[in-house]
């Protein structure tokens, strides 16, 4: 082949590569596919999990045997992965879906309950067929109320009427998405929640604004109540304590290098906050003074949990660590080697984590702080997932 032909061929190859790249880009697949964000929920002897495939599954805690699974039955073209945590209400397990629906299932049988609102036995947040995405966890309060934060910035309040329906009460519209779970201040009868517009809002049961605290950055993490204070972190690497009654600043801390993403944990006057800079910050809740900082290599997206004196957390890269909550001494660790976005659910000395490979993992935290696998193998949530029948080498 002579030089001229070779050059002509190179031209063709370059053009073909460009066209192929365009094809690959446009066929990049389902970018909306989730990654196992929903935190498991434990009630009784069962753990409930909202899956990447849009299902709600009930699993026996001790045997890892599936009790039942229920589908959201959304259209194939809608995003499926469930972000919010299941919750218990009136003997039913409820879950919010990325299509803006609230689904309720009998906790023992998994069947749709006839007591829900419309023909399809689902409640929609919006009048359209598809509602806004429910990302944040739903709050149930005052025995028969629920508050649902959604991606269109609405916090919608519903009252559950026995054997009838969820009656919409009111809704409050923030200027940007709500990804964080609200908090109910029982003493002052107010709901407090943060928004991506950078504001922390306090509203009453009628959705009237009590006060608003303005920060300079988005709030993704759910706030924590501590006496007369509300404490929360922002994407501007800051942590705030605000007065519950008037929304005035008590203190703020901004020495971190990353975003405060997950809900912090409060224990005995100390706030334990995970950060995307890979650190765990222990902060005195009355003063904002740092007690200690525990440094790791990888971002921590999920909330830590406390069992006895152990502080347990997992990084985005899947390293599960157990440290002493007062001395920050490392007591145990285990590497799952998979990405983890979900927060940890604890029950007695057991923890449950949803992992991005489509599995639910369970560990026992031993007295020396070492995590040990509770089940013989992870529970892979895909229906007929072959990995449930394959050999498995425990990682912990």
């Amino acid at each position: 082949m002579n030089k001229l032909q070779i050059l002509k061929n190179i031209k063709s190859y370059i053009l073909i590569s460009f066209i192929v790249s365009l094809c690959m880009l446009s066929c990049v697949g389902d970018r909306m596919k989730g990654s196992g964000w929903s935190t498991p929920f434990v009630e009784g002897n069962n753990v409930y999990i909202g899956t990447i495939e849009g299902e709600l599954i009930s699993i026996d805690i001790m045997t890892a045997k599936e009790n039942w699974r229920a589908s959201s039955l959304d259209s194939e073209f809608l995003p499926k992965s469930i972000y919010s945590k299941p919750f218990l209400f009136d003997g039913k397990i409820f879950i919010g879906t990325p299509a803006g629906k609230l689904l309720g299932f009998n906790m023992n049988s998994g069947l749709d309950e006839v007591s829900l609102q419309d023909i399809e036995q689902r409640v929609l947040l919006a009048e359209e067929q598809i509602g806004p995405v429910i990302v944040g966890n739903i709050l149930s309060f005052m025995d028969n109320y629920i508050a649902i934060p959604s991606s269109d910035g609405q916090l919608s309040l519903f009252q559950y009427v026995q054997n009838e329906m969820f009656e919409p009460i009111c809704s409050f519209k923030a200027n940007d998405s709500l990804w964080a779970k609200p908090v109910w201040d029982k003493d002052n009868q107010q709901l407090i929640f943060g928004s991506m517009d950078g504001n922390l809002y306090s509203i009453n049961k009628d959705c009237d604004l009590n006060w608003k605290f303005v920060t300079s950055s988005s709030i993704v993490s759910s706030p924590v109540l501590d006496g007369d204070k509300i404490i929360f972190g922002t994407l501007n690497r800051s942590f705030y304590s605000v007065d519950l009654l008037n929304g005035l600043l008590n203190w703020n801390f901004n020495d971190s290098k990353g975003w405060f993403w997950a809900e912090p944990v409060l224990d005995s006057g100390i706030i334990y906050a995970s950060n995307l800079d890979g650190n765990i910050y222990a902060i005195r809740s009355n003063s904002g003074q740092i007690m200690w900082i525990y440094k790791t290599e990888n971002p921590i997206i999920s909330s830590p949990v406390i069992i006895d004196d152990f502080l347990i957390f997992i990084s985005k890269q899947g390293e599960l660590q157990v440290i002493h909550k007062d001395t920050k001494r490392k007591l145990g660790s285990c590497n799952i080697n998979q990405k983890v976005y979900s927060s940890i659910e604890s029950y007695e000395n057991k923890i449950f984590i949803q992992v991005s490979d489509g599995s639910l993992r369970a560990y026992t935290i031993k007295k020396n702080g070492n995590p040990d696998e509770l089940w013989n193998r992870p529970f892979f949530t895909g229906e007929n997932d072959k990995r449930n029948n394959e050999d498995w080498d425990p990682l912990c």
Binding site: L4, L7, L15, L22, P79, V135, M196, S216, N236
Partner: protein, 308 residues
């Protein structure tokens, strides 16, 4: 494989993401303006390449008569034709694939920008945490800027075109296709034979239609980038080739006209021949070169006058 992904992220994605966000902060938190200025910046950096590309094209265009002569002279002998053609290219300093230079550079930019837009305009929590991994903490106000407001005019820059309103679904692909067509028209490679002519004609229509079709699957922000890039590229070509200046009677084109190159080429040959003669006859070659330059200058001035 992961190491390539890390290198790609460090060299392309992170700088792009941070540039877009920095421009967003500087331009009053308007992401559309951020994409437009980013595009202008890329085009400005590619300007020397564009000039070179146009020179190459001009050169190839001026060589058409000589290539035709070669093809007629060595008709039937493809190898000889190819040899002579390549040698002619080499003489004139022309690279036959030089016109693809901008496309080769645009490819990683386009792919990188596609990925950067998904990171910068996250549609789900996973993407937003990925943004956190990508931003440079030392840029002031960057943490306060996220998440980015994706609205620009009527567009949602993060939303896929085919999921947008009907005007965007129809309008954006048409604009991208039309601008690509215009761009191709101004940068068309001269054809050496009839087969190449028909290939060029096919590409002239095929690429715009293909890109218009693909636009439906891209975020609106990427379509905006491609549209602005084509418009700027077309304008640059018109400036480089002097077509805009001729509209305003200016004589500052950056690349010589075909006839000037051909005349200069002839003069080079003349000079070479003259030098050989002078060596053999012992005449003063410097005087001859001077007189030839004067002659070529007179011819050039004549050509310009006739053009005007």
């Amino acid at each position: 494989m992961e190491i390539f992904s890390d290198i790609w992220n460090v060299i392309f994605i992170r700088p792009m993401v941070n540039s877009l966000i920095l421009l967003y902060i500087l331009l009053g938190q308007n992401f559309g303006l951020s994409i437009i200025s980013f595009t202008v910046l890329i085009r400005v950096l590619m300007f020397p390449l564009s000039i070179r590309q146009t020179k190459q094209m001009k050169g190839m265009s001026s060589m058409q008569p000589k290539i035709k002569q070669i093809q007629e002279k060595y008709k039937g002998n493809k190898q000889k034709i190819s040899q002579e053609t390549m040698s002619l290219y080499k003489q004139q300093g022309i690279n036959p694939i030089g016109c693809l230079g901008p496309l080769i550079i645009q490819m990683p930019i386009f792919i990188g920008l596609y990925q950067s837009l998904y990171i910068t305009l996250p549609s789900n929590p996973e993407s937003l945490t990925q943004l956190s991994d990508s931003i440079y903490g030392f840029i002031p106000l960057i943490n306060q800027a996220v998440p980015i407001d994706a609205k620009f005019l009527w567009l949602n820059l993060g939303s896929i075109v085919r999921s947008s309103d009907i005007y965007t679904q129809i309008g954006l692909p048409i604009l991208v296709g039309a601008s690509t067509f215009l761009m191709q028209k101004t940068t068309a490679t001269p054809a050496m034979d009839d087969r190449q002519k028909s290939t060029n004609r096919m590409m002239l229509w095929f690429m715009p239609i293909l890109l218009a079709w693909f636009t439906l699957s891209f975020p609106s922000g990427l379509a905006l980038y491609w549209l602005i890039s084509n418009v700027i590229g077309t304008l640059i070509q018109l400036v480089i080739t002097g077509k805009i200046q001729s509209l305003f009677n200016l004589n500052t084109n950056l690349v010589k006209d075909d006839s000037e190159i051909l005349i200069e080429d002839n003069n080079k040959t003349d000079i070479h021949e003259k030098e050989e003669n002078n060596e053999s006859s012992g005449n003063n070659s410097k005087n001859n070169r001077r007189s030839n330059r004067h002659r070529s200058g007179r011819v050039k001035r004549k050509q310009r006058r006739s053009r005007d």
